[in-house]
Symmetry: C2
Subunit: 391 residues, 2 copies
C-alpha cells in the first residue's frame, strides 16, 4: 500500500475498527457488559468509515473532491468490499484482499477451508499431510495411559503437564497451528502471526517426512514441526498451549462478532483433509456463544445484508486471493462481471499482495499487484470523467 500510494500520489489512512486496538467505546468496560457490545457490528464499522471519510474530506485541505479507494485484507477485505457495496458514493472502488465474503451459511462447502490447509501440506510433501493425519490417533493412544500422557507432555516440551481433560484442547491447538501455517506460508521470512522462516510449511514438513513411525517418534516429529512455528527465534524454553497465535489481532472482538453476525461454518471429514472428522454443529456453536457472551448467532444475517452470491449489480471491486490461503475457499475466485473481478495469486498465502515489496516476491505476485493498480487507476479515471463525476 505504501508503494502504490506513492505511485498514485494518494494519502493512506488506516482506520481502526471500533472494539479493536485502542478504539474501545466504553474503555476497559467495552467487553464486560453485553449492552456495551451492541455497537460491535460490521454495519457500525462501515458507518464509522463513512463518517471518517466525510470528516477527512471536510477537514483536510484539497481532499474534498478527491476519489477514495477502500483497501483491506481478510475481515478488513470483507469490509472493503461491503463498503463499496453499501457506500458507493464514498469510494470509487475497493481492493478486497483474501476476503472470504462467502464463508457463510452454505455458500461454500464447510470443509473447503481444511481441505486447502491439507493441500498446502500435501503439496510440500505428501508424507507430511499423512503424518499429521495419523498424529491424532497417536496422541489418543499415548493419552490413554498415565505414563503415555507424561511422555506426551515431555515429547511436546509443554510448559505445563497434560491431564486427560486437556487432550481435545491440545488437538485444537495443534490444528490451529497447521491452519495458521497455511495462512502465513509466505515466500520470505515474515512476522505476521509469529516470526517464521521463508516457506514455513516446507520447513515444518522436513520433520514430518515419514508417517510410518512409532507414536513416540511421531510426537517428537510433531514437536519439531510445532517448534518451527512457536520457537523460530530459538529463545523459547517450552511450548505454551494457552498461547493463542492470533491474540494480537483482537481475538476477543472477533469471538463476539463470530457469535453474532460473522458465523462461519467449518468442518472436516478426515478424508479430503488431514484432520479429525468434525461436523459443523450450529447448535453447539450457539450454546457456546450463549455461555460466553449471552448472545446467540444469526447465521443468515450476513447473506441477507450483503447479498451472498447475488452481488452482480455492484461494481468496482477487485477480489484477490492466494491459492495457498485456506480463506480463498470462501473468497471470490472467479470474475463476476467486468468490474467485479477476481485476481488469483499462485503460490500466494493470506493477503500476500498487501505486504510490502520484497526481493523474494514471486513474479505472479508482481503481476497481481500491477493488475490491482491498473484497476485502481481505471476507477480514478472514471471518477474524473465529466459524465459521471463523483458518483
Amino acid at each position: 500500500m505504501w508503494d502504490v500510494a506513492e505511485e498514485l500520489k494518494a494519502m493512506l489512512v488506516f482506520a481502526e475498527h471500533r472494539y479493536y486496538g485502542e478504539s474501545l467505546p466504553f474503555g476497559e468496560d467495552s467487553f464486560k457488559d453485553s449492552q456495551n457490545l451492541n455497537f460491535l457490528t460490521s454495519e457500525q464499522a462501515l458507518a464509522d468509515f463513512a463518517e471518517l471519510i466525510k470528516h477527512l474530506k471536510k477537514t483536510i485541505p484539497g481532499a474534498e473532491n478527491q476519489p477514495v479507494i477502500a483497501i483491506g485484507g481478510s475481515y478488513g477485505g470483507m469490509l472493503a468490499a461491503w463498503f463499496r457495496m453499501k457506500y458507493p458514493h464514498l469510494v470509487v472502488g475497493a481492493l478486497a484482499a483474501s476476503a472470504p465474503i462467502w464463508q457463510f451459511e452454505d455458500l461454500v462447502p464447510c470443509g473447503l477451508f481444511m481441505k486447502i490447509v491439507t493441500e498446502d501440506f500435501r503439496k510440500s510433501n505428501s508424507n507430511c499431510s499423512e503424518s499429521i493425519r495419523r498424529s491424532w490417533a497417536a496422541i489418543d493412544r499415548l493419552a490413554s495411559t498415565s505414563s503415555g500422557l507424561r511422555g506426551l507432555s515431555q515429547m511436546l516440551r509443554l510448559c505445563s503437564p497434560l491431564t486427560s481433560e486437556d487432550i481435545e484442547r491440545l488437538k485444537d491447538w495443534i490444528t490451529e497451528t497447521w491452519v495458521n501455517l497455511a495462512m502465513v506460508d509466505y515466500p520470505y521470512e515474515s512476522n505476521f502471526l509469529q516470526p517464521l522462516p521463508a516457506w514455513p510449511i516446507k520447513v515444518v514438513c522436513q520433520f514430518l517426512n515419514n508417517p510410518d513411525v512409532s507414536d513416540s517418534l511421531m510426537l517428537e516429529n510433531i514437536f519439531q514441526a510445532l517448534n518451527v512455528y512457536y520457537n523460530y527465534s530459538g529463545q523459547v524454553k517450552c511450548l505454551n498451549m494457552s498461547e493463542i497465535a492470533t491474540s494480537s489481532l483482537g481475538s476477543q472482538g472477533w469471538s463476539y462478532q463470530a457469535c453474532t453476525e460473522m458465523v462461519m461454518p467449518f468442518c472436516s471429514n478426515g478424508v479430503d483433509d488431514m484432520f479429525e472428522p468434525q461436523q459443523w454443529n450450529l447448535k453447539k456453536f450457539s450454546d457456546d456463544c450463549f455461555s460466553q457472551w449471552h448472545v446467540r448467532p444469526r447465521p443468515s444475517w450476513i447473506t441477507t445484508m450483503y447479498g451472498g452470491k447475488n452481488i452482480s449489480s455492484h461494481t468496482n471491486i477487485v477480489f484477490s486471493n492466494g491459492d495457498l490461503d485456506p480463506w480463498s475457499g470462501g473468497g471470490v475466485t472467479k470474475d463476476i462481471s467486468d468490474t467485479l473481478v477476481a485476481v488469483i495469486i499462485p503460490q500466494g498465502a493470506h493477503h500476500l499482495d498487501l505486504r510490502a515489496n520484497n526481493a523474494y516476491d514471486p513474479k505472479a505476485l508482481l503481476l497481481a499487484r500491477s493488475l490491482e493498480v491498473k484497476y485502481m487507476k481505471q476507477w480514478i479515471r472514471d471518477f474524473y470523467k465529466p459524465s459521471r463525476r463523483r458518483h
Copy 2:
C-alpha cells in the same frame, strides 16, 4: 398497485414499518423510554424488509425464485429507493413515488417546499395566494386587542377561545392546512388526510378571491377556506386547532425520526412564498428535539448513509413526482441515468400515481402509470435473462 399487481400476476405485500400502526416492539411502552426508541431508524426498517422478503421467499411455495419490486410513496418511497440502493440482491427495482430523498441538508433550497405550496394556490387564482400572504398580518392586528382576539376566535369558529399565547400555534395550524391542501390537491373527491372535494385548492380559493378586504372579512374568508378542509362533511360544529391532520399517519414516530435521522430543513421568506418569513434554525430544532425526546438530530447522516445527490452507481429506480406536490422539491425530477429515471406527473399531487384507478384520472397520470409499468416489466425481463439471473 392492485391493478398493476393483477397485470403482472404479482403478489402484493404491505409491510408495516416498526413503531407505526400495530408494529410496536415494546408494546405500549414503545415511545415511553428513549432506550425503547433505539430501533426506530430507516436502516432498521430496511433490515426488517430484507428479513421479511427472505421469510416470504422461504415460506410461500413458488416464491423463492420470483423477482421482487419495492414500491412506496412519500417516506415509503424513500425507503423503496433506499432499499434498492442497499439491498439490490433482494429487489430488482423500486418505484419511489413522491419520495423527497433530497429534502436533507442543503441538497435543495429550504424554501422550495413552501414556494411550491404557494405556486399551487397562485395557479388557482393569484388573489388566493395574495390573500393568504396578507392574512398573517390581519391575524396579528386582530390578536393585538382583547376584543379583536375574541372576534378572531368567533370568525374562525374555534372550539376553544384563543389567548394571545395561542397566536403562533394558530398560524402554524393554518399554515399546515395550506401545506396539506397542496399535498392532497387531487382531481377527484378523496379522503387521504381528510375527506375533500375534487381539486380542493380550487374550492378553497373561491373563498379567497379578494386580498383587499378588512381584517374581519379576511378572517371570515379564511374560515370558509379552512372549513373546506376540516368540515367537508358539514358535520363539524367548530374547528379544533389541536386536530393534527396527519395524526393517523403516525406523527409520534415521525416526530422522533425527524429528531434523529430525518432532519428536513424548511424555510420561507414571504417573497417567493405566501408565508411569514421563517429561517431554518437547526439549533432551535435541536433544542426542541432534546426537550421532547432527549435526543439531538444528526442532520448529515442521511446524506452520508444514502449518498445525497451522488447515487448514479445505483440502478433500476423510478422516481415519480407530481408537479403540484410540495415534496417534489426534494425529489428526483430529472433522469440521473438510463436506469435511474424521473417520471413527472403534470397536475399531480402527493403520490397520485399510487392511488387506485379513477374515472377522473388525468391523461398525464395514465401515461405516467404506464411508463412505470413499462420499467417494472423491463426489470422483470432482465431478472429472467440467463446471463444475469437473480442479481
